[in-house]
Symmetry: C2
Subunit: 183 residues, 2 copies
């Protein structure tokens, strides 16, 4: 990697928000020339693959203002400061679906947009989920519709581009691989 390194010459914070911060950084390229990088800092997030005892996948429909439309996604949410990702995963599952479990395992983590943002998503598998007696409260600016679908229905939602984001597309591929491994 030594031949690829970009040395930071300056970093200016242009915006500090509720969720993201924005920096413009001047860097020295490997060839000695200078360039600018636009960098969004994000606290990171979790997402959860959870299936009911009837093998239905839990999905939530949510309005996404950047896209001016709703998407159907696996339950997800951003990390609170100092919160362990597995704790966030359990909390988001409870808040968005009304199910809970103590059996959560990390499947994979990935950066969503490494060209301009440092958002890292931790994808968990939830097993043995149980319906909660009292549904956990969503954040006050969060509104979701819960869906419970078969893998076939999830594939259809993907085909219709109602499922249309990277983490949920990855989750569907993961479940397809699990199915293929059974055969």
């Amino acid at each position: 990697m030594s031949n690829l390194f970009e040395k930071e010459l300056s970093s200016e914070k242009l915006f500090s928000g509720k969720i993201i911060d924005l920096y413009v950084q001047e860097v020295e390229l490997p060839n000695g020339k200078k360039s600018k990088r636009e960098v969004v800092k994000h606290p990171g997030a979790v997402a959860v693959i959870a299936r009911t005892s009837e093998n239905k996948l839990l999905l939530v429909e949510q309005y996404r203002k950047p896209l001016e439309r709703t998407l159907v996604e696996i339950p997800a949410g951003k990390l609170e400061e100092g919160e362990e990702p597995i704790v966030t995963a359990k909390r988001e599952l409870e808040e968005e679906t009304g199910y809970t479990t103590d059996k959560l395992s990390l499947l994979i983590s990935f950066y969503t947009s490494p060209g301009f943002a440092d958002e890292l998503v931790h994808l968990y598998l939830a097993e043995d989920i149980q319906k909660m007696d009292v549904k956990a409260e969503l954040d006050e600016d969060e509104f979701v519709n819960l869906m419970e679908v078969t893998l076939k229905e999830a594939e259809q939602l993907l085909h219709e581009q109602r499922i249309y984001d990277a983490k949920t597309a990855y989750a569907v591929a993961y479940l397809q691989l699990q199915e293929a491994a059974k055969k």
Copy 2:
């Protein structure tokens, strides 16, 4: 979705960059309360799954300033204004790998970070790729190392978190599914 819609009350552009623009928008939530949304606008991007005649996957190692490290990714790049995604896919394949093809097909498109950004990635499958006599020029601020790896080696890179981004993780899952389907 009608019960999820967020009505835009105002939108302020806080930054206009080379790659991204940043807006802060005030919205009316479904319950009538007001909230703010931080929205990054991005032109969109393409990524390409390309294998050589020896069935090696083309990957590029690249320094990612937002992460302060290199990642190993499938070839990718952002859309130029007015450019068809399939044209971008061919161009990025040529520039980053020195291979070309006229056989490109769209596998899937997905939003990478729908919570705060509108970046849409179009993932193409390149077939029958050919080494170019004269390598295409990279952008002047772009430096990459080309790698050609087996699926097993790609799985190992993913395990080592040198492959660490959503689109490349999805690409590996796609290739695993193709392998599983052959059995």
